[in-house]
């Protein structure tokens, strides 16, 4: 009798424990990803797919802006901060604990609305001329600087209306990065920023509004990322790259830029350098960009393990075109990424590199 009682008690206790642990494991991991509005659509499809294949992991994704992503990942409010921009020297100093992990490619492309010039006509543009347009120094489409690089295009005498982003945006960062690296004037007077002080033009909140304003305004010039070019079937300008080729942005030319960077032995291991402009190659788009996840090294080990799993999943299975290309990004190649990724993961979880747990 006693035995029965005791074993019953034991069973009950076990049941309670198992229920508790069951509840515990159902919510064992709560990951919060927040930041870049640009990366948000990709993170949503990733989160859904990942939660389906990894029961017990709950991921909440929010679109709050890269600035929020960086600062809140650093102070531990969120698990992963998404950012369109890498950590510049200043930010690395301010947020020492952050490691940046590239998770996808995208770019910035220049769109236009020039009366009389059809979609099929390819317009070529180089950095110094583009910078002068966005500084208000070139004011008409038939300016001789524009005609000089487009000898076969007949431009109308139409005022150029500059259209830019009003909100702080990674797209703007990548765009002004190209201008800063190619035009001394731009570098000296305005520089590279998510929200620079624009000398001329008008600003709109979000890429959709930029597309709408460019489409509605004769003479307009603006810039958006790959996703919007595809979604709205826009034609964009061919930008001059380091080797003098004029290249139109596409999944292929953006990946070429990324590959050129990854195969460049001088490219920093922490990925904190721009892949705009400074890359060689014929089909290399000069205004491509890594999208980043920022993770703080001070996360608790258990969370870090889950974060690592998620990162490896995102960089392997997550790079499938059904996720990346469909939401407006170009997939990262895993193999050339591996050596640098190993170092980053080692920094996040010392002694715990890729080999211990392969992507699954």
């Amino acid at each position: 009798m006693n035995f029965v009682k005791r074993s019953f008690g034991l069973a009950a206790a076990l049941a309670v424990v198992s229920v508790l642990s069951g509840v515990g494991s159902a919510h064992a991991t709560d990951l919060t990803i927040s930041g870049s509005t640009m990366l948000f659509p990709l993170e949503q499809v990733w989160a859904n797919a990942y939660m389906k294949s990894h029961p017990g992991v709950h991921i909440s994704v929010a679109s709050t802006g890269s600035g929020f992503g960086i600062s809140n990942a650093a102070n531990g409010n969120i698990t992963i901060g998404a950012s369109d921009a890498y950590l510049t020297k200043d930010l690395r100093k301010r947020y020492e604990s952050l490691a940046s992990i590239p998770v996808a490619f995208d770019d910035t492309q220049v769109i236009y609305n020039i009366p009389g010039i059809g979609k099929s006509k390819l317009i070529r543009m180089d950095g110094p001329v583009l910078a002068r347009i966005f500084m208000g120094k070139i004011r008409f489409w038939d300016d001789k600087a524009i005609r000089a690089i487009n000898p076969s295009v007949k431009f109308p005498h139409q005022r150029i209306k500059v259209i830019h982003r009003a909100d702080a945006s990674g797209t703007t960062f990548v765009f002004t990065d190209y201008l800063s690296q190619t035009s001394k004037e731009w570098y000296d007077e305005i520089g590279r920023d998510l929200s620079p002080s624009w000398p001329v033009g008008s600003g709109y909140n979000g890429s959709d509004a930029v597309v709408a304003a460019v489409m509605a305004t004769p003479g307009a010039i603006g810039y958006v990322g790959l996703g919007w070019i595809n979604e709205y079937h826009l034609s964009s300008m061919a930008l001059k790259n380091l080797d003098g080729y004029y290249v139109v942005g596409s999944v292929k030319t953006i990946r070429n830029a990324g590959k050129a960077a990854l195969h460049d032995p001088t490219f920093p291991d922490d990925f904190n350098r721009s892949i705009v402009w400074n890359l060689h190659g014929k089909d290399v788009y000069p205004d491509a960009n890594f999208e980043f996840w920022m993770v703080s090294t001070s996360l608790p080990a258990a969370t870090m393990l889950e974060v690592k799993k998620m990162i490896i999943w995102a960089l392997t299975k997550g790079q499938h075109e059904k996720y990346t290309v469909k939401t407006g990004f170009a997939p990262l190649p895993f193999a050339p990424l591996k050596p640098r990724l190993n170092k980053i993961l080692n920094r996040l979880l010392p002694g715990n590199s890729l080999k211990i747990e392969s992507g699954g």
Binding site: G67, I70, S71, N205, T217
Partner: protein, 381 residues
Amino acid sequence: MGVTLESDTESNMNEGQTLAKEPLSTLSAVPSPTLSASSPGLQPNTPDSTSEQGSRTKSVLRDLRKVSTQRIHRSERIFQGTLLVGGLFVLALFATVLGVSLVEAWPSITKFGWSFLWTSTWNPHRHIFGAWTYIVGTFWVTGIALLFAIPIAILSSLFLSDYSPKWLVGAVSTLMEMLAGIPSIVFGAFGIIFMVPLLRDHVEPFLANTLGRHWDFFNGDAMGYGILAAGLVVGIMVIPLVATVTRDSLVMVPRETVEASYALGSTKAEMVFFVKLPAVVPGIIGSVILGFGRAIGETMAVLLLIGNQASIPTSIQDVGYTISSLLANTFTYAVIDPLYSAAEIELGLILLVISLVVNTLGRELLMKLMGGRLAGSVGGG
């Protein structure tokens, strides 16, 4: 006497119901004589007519007074306490908002001092921040909005109060109230799909071809987006505010005044223009202050329409930037840099101070004009 007694008993009963802990026996023992005493109309003999009955009633009254004042004291204290908490909460809320903003804005306040107000450079990249461009943009939009809204609102309220057929009054004033309740983003969207193309394709070219020939102020690039579009749409949002208050004051103009002016031989138009309109000037001023408060802080509709370019407009067709739309556009990014976010919070403080100053000045003005009669109803804007 009877009236006060009745009200005492009533509140006493109510207390008895709400404060269930109190024994009801005292209540039930007392009321019957007092109730009968309190309704003199029903009984031919009022308590004062017979002295014996009167003295008895008086002693009962005294007891009742004592009980009820005690109870009222307690409940009163609870009630007062609750009110105090509410009042202090509002005070604390205001102090917190102001205090937190001041603390957060402090790096910018100490670094730039007063020059923050008239510096027109805003360059986060170089850590130079100045509010002038945004202050000017804010006043442009607010000014255009009020210039557009006030005449229309006054005309429409005069029409409604004196000229419109009765059936139209109800319909139009209901619509006005609905208009005032529409979220601003709806007006912003309306602005983009209606106002921007209208301005770009018709109004702005027209302005440039007529007034623009003489004054550069009306020339421009005909973008559609800009201070004009933002000002007009905010104006549309201000119209119902001004119109409703103005119409309410028009309705309150004493009938005698109106009749007196008719008696002196004025026509209806003269009466409306020289008698009614001057009588409601304080009301109009009050409503304009309300409208100003709405226009100066309007964010979403302005952000969608103004073109968000940090430059000082020199033409009605130019784009611009307001304080509120700058904060909405960039504040989530500014948090990354302490000085940047401090400068943006200082902008918010400037907005706060401007609306406080305008409200206070408006109140003072009203006090002077009205001798304090209407001022209380206006300060809230």
